[in-house]
Subunit: 295 residues, 2 copies
């Protein structure tokens, strides 16, 4: 592909990830304002995202791009991160092997947006979304969204939230002729806690190495995953955020969050890869739940 | 070595680990009774250890030994685990390579005792000790103890607790002509959080693959590590447990515990190895702090 084309695609993708972040910020701040409560006694006024730009240094000391962290600590969301990054550099030799197209040429460029929400109210599920565009000597999209209801009585496929979330992810796939069943199964496989022999949540979709014949179509699908996630999750939060909860629900939520920590530190490729390759620790670990219990 | 000799050594080691567990239980329950407070409002009477035996199934379905968990949830210790295990089986081929002496013959036997204490009072340091005897076609001891003061103002080498803990570990080494400086440096290297570029605590000692010419001497050293740890930590708890603490201290403690979780799930060989090879999840993860914050 001509260099001018790939440069344009990088710019378009990076631009979109920034837009997706802004939409999420707008939508979630609206929920912070509109939700009638109940709120945690620890929370005060409606929360606003705090923005923080960061710069990355490549392992060889070169400038490596950076990103914009957006963190909300509010009365609906105990903690929510919605971060973008646009980074470039070269892979260290031990990592180049693991990355498609990097063995021939270790240079890479990657941009993405990543969201994780930890609501106060245990009846509101935790949610995660990530979409990314990675360029080595190949160029591909990856991403997905998944939902984790934190109460046992709600963490099942029959729950209305589960059905709504799956319908949204299915819709994004079907509008772009993406293989929904494959991506749904990939999500179930990816978010599996092997040591506990249990899934992280109720699933969603996961895809990677998407490098089809039609870049515009792949990009349109990736955008749709982002917008569908934001809309579906906003609806799920709104539908649950006025429900009362008990101390027992809160305890169950804090213990379930422990599973989220176990998943992220034991299995999540992005987290482990980022932490072991000098990524931005604050940004990577902002996905960690604010308060967690292993009783 | 004659089979009868190795059988006797296994029995002696397993016996000692059970004794070390019992000493720890006695000592820590005494502290639970004698400490005058202040106690957390969440804690009531002096805590007692709950004992729970568990059995292990080898990856090939054979009986694989088991262990005895001892967990204390008290008024001095928010959570403390002191567990023994005596396990045997065969390593799966992908792990045999990583274990000395297992490539020739995948059979193994291992016994050990493992302790981790999470006190309520943030002025009382967190502590960890493990000693083990592993038999493949080789046979070696490993172990160590380390201390993690959770308040920045106390987590330094000049603090009296740090000095007392180091002196105890040095004593155990010197009484048995073990190379203290080497084991101290090994501990600093092992308990290093690479992604944060910081140590876990103030250190201690760590040793592994100890297979000297004199088994009795190696065993005596390993026993001394256990008894020295228990005595030193009991003194440190007693010296601090009546000190008052603030809400800010408690918050600092909960955040510092997050580093402990990061360490255990990202780096600790025993934890990761255990979780990925079908170990006892309850026992392995009982090392996790009871309440943790990533604010």
């Amino acid at each position: 592909m001509a260099n001018a084309d790939i440069a344009q695609r990088k710019a378009m993708a990076a631009d979109w990830f920034a837009q997706a972040q802004q939409r999420l910020i707008d939508e979630m701040e609206r929920i912070e304002r509109d939700c009638p409560g109940p709120f945690s006694p620890e929370a005060a006024a409606p929360g606003r995202f705090e923005l923080k730009d960061w710069k990355r240094t490549n392992h060889d000391g070169a400038e490596g791009g950076g990103g914009r962290m957006a963190i909300l600590r509010g009365r609906v969301f105990e903690k929510m991160g919605a971060h973008t990054s646009v980074v470039q550099g070269t892979f260290a030799p031990e990592f180049a092997k693991q990355i498609p197209g990097a063995e021939e040429d270790p240079r890479f460029w990657a941009a993405g947006v990543s969201v994780i929400a930890h609501p106060w109210n245990p009846t509101v599920p935790t949610a995660h979304m990530n979409t990314r565009f990675v360029v080595t000597s190949k160029a591909w999209f990856g991403g997905g969204g998944d939902l984790t209801p934190v109460l046992d009585r709600r963490r099942n496929q029959e729950d209305l939230d589960s059905q709504a979330f799956h319908a949204a992810m299915r819709g994004a796939c079907e509008r772009h002729a993406a293989p929904y069943d494959k991506y749904k199964a990939w999500c179930d496989e990816y978010f599996w806690l092997k040591h506990r022999n249990e899934p992280r949540g109720i699933g969603g979709i996961f895809y990677d190495y998407l490098e089809g014949a039609d870049w515009d179509a792949d990009f349109a699908f990736t955008r749709d995953v982002g917008t569908s996630f934001t809309r579906a999750y906003a609806d799920i939060v709104a539908a649950n955020c006025a429900q009362p909860w008990s101390e027992a629900d809160r305890e169950e939520q804090l213990v379930r969050r422990g599973r989220y920590v176990e998943y992220n530190l034991l299995y999540d490729r992005g987290t482990i890869f980022g932490l072991k390759t000098g990524g931005n620790v604050d940004s990577i670990l902002s996905s960690m739940p604010p308060t967690v219990r292993w009783p």
